[in-house]
Each structure stands twice: as structure tokens, then as C-alpha cells.
């Protein structure tokens, strides 16, 4: 029987599709996890269990990998994920002020999801677009040359 997660998505089906795409190979664990994470927004416990069964590696190892990489999440995230660059180039270019504006606007701390489930705020290391720092990503959109005043307008774009 297939299990459903909070979003009503069929975890079993998604895991099967990901595992099949990568030919059930244990060395393809990371691409498989990325795929599941992309589909579900995070990797629920039942997905870890299913992957472990399907590619024949211990669940502990699946979990150890899923919890290691920044782009994988074992906890549910909000509808939109904000990744704010906290590396030195963005910091020197005025990142601190933008960060404070972001905290004020969202009223959550890094690593948290807002009570309405809309936002998850994460800090990230360099995103590789340092010439236009300070930089943040909202889902797949990159925003550069940020100023504190732009934050409310940017956040407003997301439903």
C-alpha cells in the first residue's frame, strides 16, 4: 500500500520513478535523493526507508547522506525556500543590513518555517554570483544587488 505525505503526493510512486531513472544503483543515491527532494520538497522518513529497500543499502546510510548535503532536506519545508548567502563577499557588500531586513519581514529565524507554511528561511554559502552581492535565492530565482528596501517587494511576489 502506498503512503501519502502531507502534500498528498504518492511517496512510493515518486521513489520508484527516481530509483528506476537511476537504474537502482547504490552509487546513484545522491541523484535519487535529489530527485525525490525536488518532487516532494523534502525527503520524508518513509522515502528513506523505501530507497533503502530498493537499492539495497542500509537506511542509516541513506539517512546519513540525506542529512549531509545542503540541497537535501529531511524536514518539511515551506512553500517557498529562501536561501540567503552569508559568505564574505556578500557580507562586505552590505549583506548584513539586508539580512536584518529579511529577519524583520519574515519574523522567523534561520532554519525555521513560518507558522503559515509559506516561508522557510535558510542561510547558504556562496551561490557563485558574487559580483552582484548581496545575493539571495527564492526557490529557483536569484536576486542580486539587494538593498534592505527591496525585501518587502520581492517577498510580495510569492503566493
Amino acid at each position: 500500500m502506498s503512503k501519502l505525505n502531507g502534500n498528498g503526493r504518492d511517496v512510493n510512486k515518486i521513489v520508484n520513478a527516481a530509483v528506476t531513472e537511476y537504474h537502482s544503483k547504490p552509487e546513484e543515491l545522491i541523484p535519487i535523493l535529489l530527485k525525490v527532494n525536488q518532487e516532494l520538497g523534502f525527503i520524508p522518513a518513509e522515502a528513506l526507508e523505501l530507497i533503502s529497500e530498493r537499492i539495497h543499502i542500509p537506511e542509516s546510510r541513506v539517512y546519513s547522506v540525506a542529512s549531509f548535503y545542503r540541497m537535501l532536506s529531511t524536514k518539511p519545508t515551506g512553500r517557498h525556500v529562501i536561501k540567503f548567502c552569508e559568505s564574505a563577499p556578500c557580507h562586505v557588500a552590505g549583506g548584513r543590513e539586508v539580512w536584518n531586513a529579511l529577519l524583520k519581514e519574515l519574523m522567523i529565524q534561520p532554519g525555521e518555517t513560518s507558522p503559515d507554511g509559506k516561508w522557510t528561511l535558510k542561510t547558504t554559502s556562496c551561490l557563485g554570483v558574487c559580483a552582484v552581492g548581496p545575493v539571495m535565492m527564492v526557490d529557483d530565482d536569484i536576486y542580486g544587488n539587494l538593498t534592505p528596501g527591496q525585501i518587502p517587494d520581492i517577498l510580495e511576489k510569492y503566493e
Binding site: 544503483k25 547504490p26 552509487e27 546513484e28 543515491l29 545522491i30 541523484p31 535523493l33 535529489l34 546510510r61 546519513s64 547522506v65 549531509f68 548535503y69 545542503r70 540541497m71 537535501l72 552569508e86 559568505s87 564574505a88 563577499p89 557580507h91 562586505v92 557588500a93 542561510t123 547558504t124 554559502s125 556562496c126 551561490l127 557563485g128 554570483v129 558574487c130 559580483a131 552582484v132 552581492g133 529557483d140
Partner: protein, 547 residues
């Protein structure tokens, strides 16, 4: 300070002075006034250009035109022609000299862009990266053809060794020697890996190469595989570089269709299969053994070394791991020869380097210039000076794992040897330029926060040391530090360097070491006077502290 549109440099070395350089300088000053150009054009003296053959000489930027020898009587004509009318006064131009790594001898690029020397970025932005035909028209796959039809693997490695190419990922290890180690290890199966996990903060050079010229990396990896005896390769591209991944996947398909990848390439009997492997977000995976673990589907935790990947790498087989920029140098070296490559840069660090310029300057971005130019040249010429006329305080080179370089070292040539002699590191080529408003405690705190966050946690010195150092720096920045903290920071920095398992931990202590070496008074001011001289740190604990 107003932004100047041009810059005139008059030589003032003893030899030039002997030949009347001072009078030339004086005359420039008068003529610029006479033409009412003093506001737009800066005039200064230089003394380290090694061109006694044309002394006294004058260099005009941004075109980087060199005139010499120049007499006081030539000055009126020069100012009128070049600076007033904007025409190069060819009659007075100095004969060109073999390149020494100084940008002044490079040919100007189009428009008003300062001269660069593009080797690895030659095609980026010029060709359509999605078109293999474009690549081929621009000398693409010529080097591979040359290698597979007329060179033995030993020839290739020998050529690379002669060229003096050093790894551009940060460590500067001679590339030819690395290839020879892998070639010299006997094994049925070997791998070639391109390290495109570019995550060093402030570094985005590899992204430009991957996105702008994907085939150059495929060509270079195929040559590398042939030279070391590998038949399979991985391009490990960081997860955040989705466009680069897509471009490379497409380029690989095109190369396969054209017969530059796959079976029996160029009818030589040589086979090479290439995969793209995306990262999933972990700075430590830029460390080659962590990267290998990640390709094997595990946590990116570095392996103890030795054994090195050259003998025991991916799936325990001999593996060559090279950075993107290093590989991008290979096809041009094969096409043009070692002597050509050595004509750029300095004798011990030949070739070019891609720098990413960020921070408190007028123009940020990316340049490719010969090894051996100075930080001052980068800031004045390429970055168009410091923003808002503020003073340079320090430059942070090479991302988090590089060095904090005080302003007084800005005339040190940027090449592996000169930087090593000055006790600093060039790293990946990131140049974060910081003005007087930067607080070194705050900067070190940000850098240590990065290492604390990115440490894989496998070895104790790194996992605990970075956490502890970050806490101490945070205390100091809040006005809660004590002088014992300085000793503690020094110890942690030393332990990180000596006891960490991999390069991440080994370099994590450098920001601490650097700020204590170069800016000790500023750190002490935070502790003793409870003041942040730059006015950055909140010093919020000051009032609550009981002495």
C-alpha cells in the same frame, strides 16, 4: 574622488631619472593643466616596469599603451594626440617586449576595456555555448586531433611539464607531474575527474568557463584520459550550477555524435566515456577525496591521505582530479606549444589567471590576466579604483581558504612564488577588496562561521576548532573578549593547521592567523578599549559586562 578616465604613469626608476624622467613628469603636469585635463586624468610615477631599454617611458591606461623613450618635447604632442584627441601616437610607441606578466605590454581590447590576456576565457561570451560547430570553428577539438593522431601519452605529459602549468584550483601543484603520477600507476581501470564543485566564496571563474565554453572541458578531459590511460571520466559540477550542468550534458551528447567522445575516437582505438555528476550542496566536496566519496554515493567526507587519488581514487582505482581552469589551459598548450604558454606570466608561474573581483570597488567582475600582475594594478586598472574614494584596507584572496592581505602588500606580484614568499596564498583567484570600513574581527567571524557551517564533522580539530574560534570571535565582537582569547585563537589556528584531516580544516585557521599578524592592534582594541575602530561590531555586551 572623481573617477578618472585615464591614467598616465611616468617611469621613475633610477635609470629613467638619469635620462630625464623627472622633466617628462613635470611637463606632463603642465600640459594636462594647459589642456584642462587635470580633473579627468591622473598622473603618477612607477618604478618597477623593467624596461630600461626604452627609458624614460610613459604608460597610458586604460589602453595600456607604452610610449618610450619619451623626451620632455614629446609630451605636448602625446597629450594632444592621445589624451585630448584620443588617438594612439604610434610614432612614439615603445617596441613590444616579450610578455613578463605585466599588463602594460598586452594589446588593448575593444572599446575602453583594459587589456587582458584571455586563454581559458578566449571563447566564453564569443561563441554560442550550445553549438559544437561554433567551438570547432574557433580551433575546437584541434588539440584532441593533434594528440590522438600524432602524440604518445608520454609526449603529452612531457609537453605539459615543459609548459610549467600549475593547478588553478588553489594549491598550485604542477599539472604535468600529477598526470605523470596517474600515468605511472599500473591499473586496468583508471578515471579522470574534473573538479567543478566551485564553492569557494567569491569564486565564479569555473562557472563562466563551463557555461561559456563547455566543449573546452570535454576536449581537455579526453586528452587527459588519453595521457594517463583512463577510459572513463566524471565531471563533478556543484548542485547549484544547474545551467552549467545542462550545458555540459548537451555538449557531451554533441561530442558523442561527432565522434569526439565514445568509442574509437579519431580512429585511434582510444575510447572515453564521460558522465556528469551533480553535487548536492557541500563545500567540502571541492576537496578531491570528498568529491570522490560523493561520486560513490556517500557523505562527502575526505579520506585520509596518503594514499592519494593518483593511486587509490574513485572505486579505489588511480584517478586524476583537475580543476576546471587547469583543464581549460590544456588544449591551448597542445595547440600552441609550451614556449607560447611560457611567454605569459612569470618564469616560475607561467600562463594566465582568472580573477574574480568583488567588494568595495567601482567595477566588480571577472578578468583573465597574466600571472604576476599586482593587486594595485587590479584595483586601479580593472576595478576602476576604490568605491567612493575610500582607502584600501585589505584584500581577501582565494575565497575563505585564502589569505587576508593588508594594503601594504598590494605591490607584491600575484604569482605562486611571490605570494608564497610573502607568506600569503592566492588560492582560487577570488579577490575581495575591502575598504577602511571593514572590521577584521567581523570579517574573520564571517569566515569562521563559513567553516563552522561547512566542516563535514569527521575530524575533531575542524569540527570543534571552528566552532570554538567562532564563539571567541563573536565574544570579542560583542566587547566580551579577554586578552587570553588571543592566545586561545592562536592555539586553535595552529591546531587546525596541524591536526585537521583535510584542506578545509588546515586552511580554516588562516583568517585568524592573518588578522593577528597584520591587524593585531585592531583586535586588541576590541578587547582592551571595548571599541570597534571600524564601527562595525555592535559591542552589545559592553554595558552588561562586570569587570
Amino acid at each position: 574622488m572623481k573617477i578618472k578616465r585615464s591614467m598616465v604613469l611616468v617611469s621613475s626608476d633610477p635609470h629613467s631619472l638619469d635620462k630625464g624622467a623627472e622633466a617628462v613628469y613635470q611637463r606632463f603636469s603642465e600640459e594636462l593643466k594647459a589642456f584642462d585635463l587635470s580633473d579627468e586624468i591622473s598622473l603618477s610615477k612607477i618604478s618597477d616596469m623593467e624596461r630600461s631599454d626604452v627609458a624614460p617611458f610613459v604608460i597610458v591606461y586604460p589602453e595600456a599603451t607604452v610610449y618610450g623613450p619619451v623626451t620632455p618635447d614629446d609630451v605636448h604632442f602625446l597629450v594632444e594626440e592621445h589624451l585630448f584627441k584620443g588617438r594612439i601616437a604610434t610614432r612614439l610607441q615603445a617596441p613590444t617586449k616579450e610578455l613578463t606578466g605585466k599588463i602594460a605590454w598586452l594589446s588593448a581590447r575593444s572599446g575602453t576595456l583594459p587589456a587582458e590576456q584571455r586563454i581559458v576565457l578566449e571563447r566564453a561570451g564569443v561563441i554560442d555555448p550550445d553549438s559544437i560547430e561554433d567551438y570547432i570553428v574557433h580551433d575546437g577539438y584541434q588539440a584532441l586531433g593533434k594528440v590522438l593522431t600524432g602524440m604518445s601519452p608520454t609526449d603529452v605529459i612531457e609537453l605539459l611539464k615543459q609548459s610549467g602549468l600549475k593547478g588553478r584550483g588553489g594549491a598550485g601543484f604542477p599539472t604535468g607531474s600529477k598526470w605523470q603520477f596517474v600515468a605511472g600507476t599500473k591499473s586496468e581501470k583508471k578515471y579522470v575527474i574534473c573538479n567543478a564543485d566551485e564553492s569557494e566564496p567569491g569564486t565564479f571563474k569555473d562557472r563562466l568557463i563551463l557555461e561559456g565554453d563547455p566543449h573546452s572541458i570535454i576536449e581537455a578531459m579526453t586528452i587527459a584520459a588519453y595521457a594517463v590511460g583512463a577510459d572513463e571520466g566524471y565531471l563533478y559540477i556543484r548542485g547549484e550550477y544547474a545551467l552549467a550542468q545542462a550545458r555540459l550534458l548537451k555538449a557531451i551528447l554533441q561530442a558523442k555524435q561527432m565522434g569526439f567522445l565514445g568509442e574509437n575516437i579519431f580512429n585511434s582505438g582510444f575510447n572515453f566515456e564521460l558522465h556528469v555528476h551533480g553535487g548536492a550542496g557541500a563545500y567540502v566536496c571541492g576537496e578531491e577525496t570528498a568529491l570522490i566519496e560523493s561520486i560513490e554515493g556517500k557523505r562527502g567526507e575526505p579520506r585520509p591521505r596518503p594514499p592519494y587519488p593518483t593511486t587509490n581514487g574513485l572505486w579505489d582505482k588511480p584517478t586524476l582530479v583537475n580543476n576546471v581552469e587547469t583543464l581549460a589551459n590544456v588544449p591551448p598548450i597542445i595547440r600552441n606549444g609550451a614556449a607560447w604558454f611560457k611567454s605569459f606570466g612569470t618564469p616560475t608561474s607561467p600562463g594566465t589567471k582568472v580573477y574574480t573581483i568583488m567588494g568595495n570597488v567601482n567595477l566588480t567582475g571577472l578578468i583573465e590576466v597574466p600571472m604576476g600582475i599586482t593587486l594595485r594594478e587590479v584595483i586601479t586598472i580593472y576595478a576602476r579604483g576604490m568605491k567612493d574614494g575610500k582607502q584600501l584596507k585589505l584584500a581577501q584572496t582565494g575565497g575563505s581558504s585564502g589569505s587576508i592581505i593588508p594594503a601594504r602588500l598590494q605591490d607584491t606580484p600575484m604569482d605562486y612564488d611571490s605570494y608564497a614568499k610573502a607568506g600569503v596564498s592566492m588560492g582560487s583567484g577570488a579577490l575581495l577588496i575591502c575598504n577602511e570600513d571593514t572590521c577584521v574581527v567581523d570579517l574573520a567571524k564571517v569566515l569562521l562561521n563559513f567553516f563552522r557551517f561547512e566542516s563535514c564533522g569527521k575530524c575533531n580539530p575542524c569540527r570543534i576548532g571552528n566552532q570554538r574560534a567562532f564563539q571567541i570571535l563573536t565574544n570579542i565582537s560583542e566587547g566580551l573578549g579577554s586578552m587570553n582569547d588571543i592566545d586561545a585563537l592562536q592555539d586553535i589556528s595552529k591546531w587546525l593547521f596541524e591536526m585537521s584531516n583535510c584542506g578545509l580544516g588546515q586552511t580554516a585557521g588562516s583568517p585568524i592567523k592573518d588578522i593577528l599578524n597584520h591587524f593585531r592592534e585592531e583586535v586588541e582594541a576590541h578587547i582592551q578599549q571595548k571599541e570597534c575602530p571600524a564601527g562595525v561590531c555592535a559591542m552589545s555586551g559592553k554595558s552588561t559586562q562586570t569587570v
